[in-house]
């Protein structure tokens, strides 16, 4: 046994009250096996990694249970015991590879420091490092070693970190969302590398992720966490094929699928409670949001029950089998070709010149962020723009919105040319087009109330607007975006992530635009919140015939929302057309590779595919 947790409980002290942020967690991790910890943000999945490294936030402490690593108690053991294990027997792969390496040290210096600690003589270090980097398929190890982290891509940094983690032949590797910050295609490669090293070395892997579908492919066993509690635990296949707990089912259903009929995503009401909300819930922590829950689960915490060998569920037998109501089908095809053209761009491109040096010469060819492309949006049409980082998809959004001046090409709005960014065309643009930014955290001014934020645009003609009218508008907008009108007095810091994104959308709706441009607006959200926002956008389409340019790296989300799509790579459009056509019969090699890189819902497909090089 590599790692064994028994009734592990982590608590936080708030005003003398003890709140369990991780309650009664038990699991066994055998050598060479992969255990997945799955849950949304705030579920407590990262807490277990922090217990292992004794890196709990202040005020948090283990209050009950045990965690035993290779027969040694790592909660109560001496600090020196832990120090002797970290980096040798236990290794960590981080979430953000780009920030997990010291920016002022070369890869060789950091790797060398790690080898020093593991007692590798200086004379042999170079050889060790080159071998290790070749093992993670870095093609030019010598160049990588002499580079600083900022000279490498996220995927390359993650490979370096994986190579470092496995070099000491650890018994346990903890990987906390190792692919979340990476592109889809890179995700497949990284998962493949981790899996191969883990198998070759017989290492036990603790794989922490928010993505149930990914976990199903990577892990042998899965632990589903909700609000600090294990709701379901068992073999990955069993849980993924036939989830028993209502939360696991909801989590799985909230993720749009890549094939099959499109049905409206069932979405849970509200959000997972925060730590401060835990103590108010007497029974099952999922109870208040449970679609099938009854009074029994709301009064007492259900015990974990073994429903099949090794498959445990924390739910009363009555709740378990209730099926959620069947969702209505979504029909995309009707809209296309029917609506009038709102936005039309022809030959649109953006080229950034490289900066002039001090002699006035340009150092390089510059960057072709967007190569000449045509782009059309019709009334009520949802157009998806898919691409990985650096594909030019965000630049396209900024061009359409007039935040960047195109290098070539024309943009017209309702047949009127708006290519230049004069005051007149800007006004025209703003009445029709609105943008929703990616990160609501930074897009919403933290010092303004929700009412001010969503009706900000009315400030430019304040004389014509009474305060009452403004308040009324704010309340209408909140209602329309599924928020309680009482929130108008709140500030962004008092809202949850999903609420913030709704406010962000409500703000864009204030001028009743006919076209929204949304840049990765769901990528930072949990799947259940993502489902809520996606449904909101579909509702807006039904009610207002609003059109949408939806920029995303996530194919399944684009399939769910959009009737047509554009695939971009390195600033070029590689494929463009109706969504279902591209999904059923992709033409370009890059599009095919993108599909292959996304983990499929079908567990019998081998994923990641053996070679996913783009």
């Amino acid at each position: 046994m590599v790692l064994q947790a028994r009734n592990l409980t982590v608590s936080m002290q708030v005003n003398g009250e003890q709140i369990d942020v991780l309650r009664d967690v038990s699991f066994d991790l055998q050598p060479g096996k992969v255990l997945g910890l799955v849950g949304e943000s705030g579920a407590g999945k990262s807490m277990i990694g922090r217990v292992i490294s004794r890196n709990l936030p202040k005020q948090f402490a283990v209050t009950n249970g045990s965690l035993v690593f290779e027969g040694r108690d790592i909660i109560h053991g001496a600090d020196t015991l832990l120090a002797s294990l970290l980096g040798k027997r236990i290794a960590f792969v981080p979430q953000e590879p780009l920030t997990a390496l010291n920016p002022l040290m070369t890869i060789a210096q950091q790797f060398g420091e790690h080898l020093d600690r593991n007692g590798v003589a200086h004379a042999h270090q170079l050889e060790w490092m080159i071998n290790a980097l070749q093992e993670v398929r870095l093609l030019d190890p010598k160049r990588v070693l002499s580079s600083y982290p900022f000279q490498l891509s996220g995927g390359m940094c993650q490979r370096v970190l994986i190579a470092m983690a496995f070099i000491s032949q650890p018994a346990l590797v903890v990987a906390d969302e190792p692919t979340t910050a990476l592109d889809v295609s890179t995700q497949a490669t990284i998962v493949q590398i981790i899996r191969r090293l883990q198998k070759d070395h017989g290492t036990a892997l603790l794989f922490i992720t928010h993505d149930l579908r990914l976990a199903a492919h990577v892990c042998d066993h899965i632990l589903v966490l909700y609000a600090g509690e294990v709701v379901e635990r068992g073999p990955a296949r069993a849980i993924s094929k036939d989830p028993q707990h209502p939360y696991t089912r909801a989590l799985q259903a909230a993720n749009p699928s890549l094939d099959g009929p499109l049905t409206r995503l069932p979405s849970l009401p509200d959000n997972m409670p925060g730590i401060s909300g835990f103590s108010a819930i007497k029974g099952c922590r999922f109870g208040p949001r449970c679609p099938v829950g009854d009074s029994i689960c709301c009064n007492a915490v259900p015990q974990l029950r073994e429903i099949a060998p090794g498959h445990w569920v924390r739910c009363s037998p009555a709740c378990q089998h209730a099926e959620p109501s069947t969702a209505p089908l979504i029909e995309h095809a009707a809209i296309r070709d029917n609506g009038a053209v709102i936005l039309n761009a022809t030959g649109l491109s953006k080229h950034y010149e490289s900066p002039r040096n001090w002699l006035g010469r340009r150092d390089g060819p510059g960057l072709h962020a967007v190569r000449p492309m045509d782009f059309t949006v019709r009334a009520g049409e949802f157009v998806g723009v898919v691409g990985e980082s650096g594909s030019g998809k965000s630049t396209l959004a900024r061009l359409l919105m007039g935040l960047e001046k195109p290098s070539t090409g024309q943009i017209s709005l309702d047949g009127r040319d708006i290519t230049d960014t004069s005051q007149q065309t800007t006004q025209l643009r703003l009445d029709t087009l609105q943008m929703v930014f990616q990160d609501p955290q930074s897009a919403l001014n933290p010092r303004r109330s929700v009412e001010d934020l969503v009706t900000q645009v009315m400030e430019s003609h304040l004389k014509a607007v009474t305060p009452e009218a403004r308040r009324q508008r704010a309340q209408d907008l909140l209602r329309e975006t599924g928020l309680s009108p009482e929130l108008i007095h709140r500030y962004p810091s008092q809202l949850s992530g999903g609420q913030k994104q709704r406010v962000n959308i409500a703000r864009a709706l204030c001028v009743t635009p006919r076209l929204l441009i949304a840049d990765e607006i769901v990528s930072g959200l949990d799947v259940s919140v993502q489902a809520q926002i996606l449904n909101l956008l579909l509702d807006l389409k039904a009610q207002r015939q609003i059109a949408l340019v939806f920029i995303s790296h996530d194919l399944s989300v684009v399939r769910y929302l959009c009737s047509s799509m554009v695939v971009m790579r390195h600033g070029k459009v590689v494929e463009q057309g109706p969504t279902e056509q591209i999904f059923s019969n992709p033409q370009h090699a890059y599009t095919k590779a993108l599909f292959a890189a996304a983990p499929p819902a079908d567990l019998d497909c081998v994923w990641p595919p053996e070679q996913t090089s783009l």
Binding site: S53, N55, A83, S84, L85, L86, G87, K88, A91, F92, P94, E96, T99, A100, L101, N102, P103, L104, M105, E113, H114, R117, Y148, F150, Q151, L152, S153, L161, M164, W358, L367, G390
Partner: protein, 343 residues
């Protein structure tokens, strides 16, 4: 690296030309607009109008302002700062004596200040949350609350008079004779002529004024370094290093400090410029024969050529320090010299 540094210095030298022209014109203009007559102030009582006119012509003050400025500039280009009206000597001679003294004092004070600042900042960080931090934190407040000229007086009082450890007048003990001037820098000269007694005396004389100057820059450095260390220690790469089992001391020295030192370094550049301003009062209090004292004498006597020259030299020194800090920045921050990842 060397090429980039050279390129940066050349760029800076080009930029310095318009800056220096502006400063010189500004200083020149302001001084001429002041309602004071340097010639009248420098003449003995009983001088005649003829004497006065002769002096005016000798110093070129009878010409038009643009003419005067251009003549001054032209002479400057040949390394001639003109003659001092009050001291009746070439300005160049006065400056060549005073500049090394000030440079010596500022370098020493600067090193002292950076040393106190960095060790204090590290100390505050390492003792964070304990009483050590409280003590250091209060000491920075005290250091900042008292202006440096007052520190000079306090230092004289405590370390010069009550507890006579260090001398506090001039650059050298009066009973010692100067060696033949080699560089003008007494520390260098005394070391070159192997005079240990001289060296000790020079250092002892510099101690208190340098300390007063150091106190002017150290507390801000301490605080900035501490707060950037507190930020850096929560960076992912520090956590990741900890998860690799690297010892806490090594993490602070190898990972946190170099990254936290970058903002501190830019601050040091700014403060280095301020320090020259601080020398004016401190040199006067310690009767230290440097640029600051020269400036005060010149201002008191409306010695226009000297004021202009010293002001211009201050400007060159500040520009020089900024350029040096930029080169150091280039050396310690790879992001400034290497291209990032391909887009």
């Amino acid at each position: 690296m060397a090429f980039l540094a050279l390129q940066l210095l050349i760029k800076r030298a080009f930029l310095a030309v318009p800056i220096l022209l502006c400063v010189s014109a500004l200083v020149f203009l302001i001084l001429r607009l002041l309602p004071a007559d340097p010639i009248a102030m420098s003449l003995p009582p009983g001088a005649t109008q003829a004497d006065y006119d002769m002096m005016r012509i000798a110093f070129g003050l009878d010409r038009s302002l643009p003419e005067q400025y251009l003549i001054w500039l032209a002479k400057l280009l040949h390394g001639d700062f003109g003659g001092s009206i009050f001291f009746r000597r070439p300005v160049m001679e006065l400056i060549s004596k005073a500049l090394p003294a000030t440079l010596e004092l500022v370098s020493f004070g600067f090193m002292l200040g950076v040393l106190i600042g960095i060790s204090g900042g590290l100390g505050m960080f390492i003792t964070r949350g304990r009483w050590g931090e409280q003590v250091l934190d209060s000491s920075t407040t005290i250091m900042m609350a008292i202006p440096e000229f007052l520190w000079a007086i306090l230092l004289i009082l405590f370390l010069g008079v009550l507890l006579p450890v260090f001398p506090f007048i001039g650059r050298l003990a009066p009973d010692l004779t100067l060696p033949a001037s080699i560089t003008g820098f007494l520390l260098v000269d005394s070391a070159l002529s192997l005079r240990l007694d001289l060296l000790i005396s020079v250092l002892a004389h510099m101690m208190l004024p340098a300390l007063a100057l150091a106190i002017g820059i150290a507390p801000l450095l301490m605080r900035v370094l501490r707060s950037s260390l507190l930020e850096t220690i929560h960076e992912d790469y520090v956590t990741q290093a900890r998860l690799r089992g690297i010892s806490e001391n090594r993490i602070v020295i190898r990972h946190a400090f170099p990254n936290a030192a970058l903002p501190t370094l830019s601050l040091i550049g700014v403060q280095g410029g301020f320090m020259f301003g601080g020398t004016v009062l401190v040199e006067m209090i310690f009767a230290y024969p440097g640029l600051g004292n020269l400036m005060i004498d010149a201002v008191r006597n409306h010695d226009l050529p000297v004021i202009q020259a010293v002001a211009l030299i201050y400007c060159v020194l500040v520009l020089g320090i900024n350029a040096v800090v930029d080169v150091i920045y280039l050396a310690v921050n790879p992001r400034l010299r290497l291209k990032g990842r391909p887009a």
